[in-house]
Amino acid sequence: MSDRSLFDKVWDAHRVRELGGGQTQLFIGLHLIHEVTSPQAFAMLREMRLPVRFPSRTFATVDHIIPTHSQRRPLADALAEQMLVALEASCREHGIRFFDPASGHQGIVHVIGPELGLTQPGMTIACGDSHTSTHGALGAVAFGIGTSQVRDVLATQCLALARPRVRRIDVTGKLSAGVYAKDVILAIIRRLGVKGGVGYAYEYAGPVIEAMGIEERLTVCNMSIEGGARCGYVSPDDLAFEYLRGREFAPRGEAFERALGWWRQMSSDPDARYDDRVEIRAGELAPAVTFGIHPGQNVGVDERLPRPAEAPGDEAASLEEAYAFMGLRPGEPIAGTPIDVAFVGSCTNGRISDLREAARVARRGRVAAGVKALIVPGSQAVARQAEAEGLPEVFRAAGFEWREPGCSMCLAMNPDKLVGREICASSSNRNFKGRQGSPTGRTLLMSPAMVAAAALRGRVTDVRELV
């Protein structure tokens, strides 16, 4: 058989057995947990008197609730401390490795998996977090799951899943300067819709994806879920394999050479068959900015906001709702929209390459008066690398705050939140109503470079004017 996609091969290799109704029992190679969606799963396990089946295949960290001002224990917020203590106790009880703040490996779960080499090609991965699709960038098939499923993986190292179809998305042409991976995935979601991926796994391919670094691919795969897809991946190539060489949990020496053989074998065949194919032309893309209340509602920074009357069916009502919430008007340009807060970070764009791009822009000026600007590294390792490169000094000199690693302002489970109707230029992944902590707060998603540009000018700015 030489017409199979990576998805087909991974699915077949991990199949334990067929269940009824078109579901398959799938073995999960790597299980990542964090403090928000696992405590109830451990409680259920205790109630059922079940052990963790493969404790060495689960790894934990703390990211959602951790404050970014200071990680000192006990955490200032008693509820956050309680969640952290609960996770520590569960990990100790079951023999699960916990990358806590003292370990030097703490960070956002989707940042540390790849950087530690836990995430590997050909694996199945699960985590109680929808952005688990991130790990697909290294050629893994990675599912976001709920708490009951976290319990299932702890108890059985398996999930019961219906097999999705596979859509290959070819990104062709070449990205122009100032256009990033974030702009590519926002364009894909704009084109295919926020529910266009329901029932599908997305395989990202084509010259633009091949030319991307692994961190850019992580950004693309991260937002697969925003397009409704069950998972997203890039078939692994030499760049992915070399990324893993020497990482703490990657195979070493001769084992690495043997791994290479298997990883190559698991890659999509050149003539693999797909259920659907889509082409996105990258040459036409400008830096993207969302203007609404879901990530599909985005335009190029040089465009005007769409008129509901010209939108197809369902979307007209959603646009009206978006404009009412955002206080923006159809027909107006998005460029020039004033902002109150700028946030660079998250599992989408909190890696070292993201911070470098933001710093490149930050060197061009100072944060505008009245704008609060935060830089939050995705992990302790990212923070160490940034420090080695002198990036915190660059940011501080320009008036940005340099924080400690965590999910921060992406989702408002820690002290970093919008206040009132503040509007935030954000490198995160969701512009949902209330997402950043204020029920009426507003989010404009964009690339880290665009966030930095907006911070300097105090309004949405085409980063290509600055660098």
């Binding site: 009951s148 409704g228 879901h294 009426t440």
Partner: protein, 200 residues
């Protein structure tokens, strides 16, 4: 498992309109700062309700005690938080009828024994109108027949085959089903080169 079988859901309906209602709206993140699901019910749709100033369907007395929630497209999108269906379940909802559902949300519902069924746009709009006009009318969702009986007559629903089978058999709580595979789990692991550390 017989006591866990879900063959039908009977009860009054409630309509929440709007596409792409994400799980951050169903249960805002600040209510996830907890180590148990207890008490989540009262916070369902907290921000939407506050902004609707008492006019949100969940605050209207006529929908008190409703068991079937009628929604639109892509309901439950976004975050994987099981807290979302947990909150709705703790408010008394046992089934969802919508245009379409986000996949993680639908999977979380099944894990709690809650049915997600889809219905075409025109019929769904009629059903929402009906529920708003006659909120005290009893609806009956029949899982086996894939139908919804209401004052509008009997509507045909779509329910994924695995959802239907697990609800009818009472096996929606997957742990026991997965454990039944026994040593086949370890056998599968032993065939995976990475699970053997890529040993020669």
């Amino acid at each position: 498992m017989s006591e866990r079988r879900v063959e039908r859901v009977r009860g009054r309906g409630c309509a929440i309109r709007g596409h792409n209602i994400d799980t951050d709206r169903i249960i805002p993140a600040r209510y996830l700062r907890c180590v148990s699901f207890d008490g989540l019910g009262e916070h369902a749709f907290a921000d939407d309700r506050q902004q609707a100033k008492g006019d949100h369907p969940l605050d209207q007395a006529r929908f008190d005690g409703a068991a079937i929630l009628i929604v639109d497209h892509n309901f439950g999108s976004g975050s994987s938080r099981e807290h979302a269906p947990q909150a709705l379940m703790r408010r008394g909802f046992r089934a969802f009828v919508g245009g379409s559902f986000a996949e993680i949300f639908a999977g979380n519902c099944l894990a709690l024994g809650l049915a997600c069924a889809t219905l075409g746009d025109a019929e769904r709009a009629r059903l929402q109108d009906r529920v708003e006009l006659r909120p005290s009318e009893e609806l009956e969702l029949d899982v086996e027949a894939r139908t919804l009986a209401s004052g509008l007559g009997v509507l045909r629903l779509e329910i994924a085959e695995h959802v239907r089978e697990h609800l009818l058999a009472g096996t929606w709580d997957a742990t026991a089903v997965l454990l039944d595979a026994g040593p086949a789990i370890e056998e599968t692991a032993s065939r995976l080169p990475y699970a053997r550390g890529f040993a020669a």
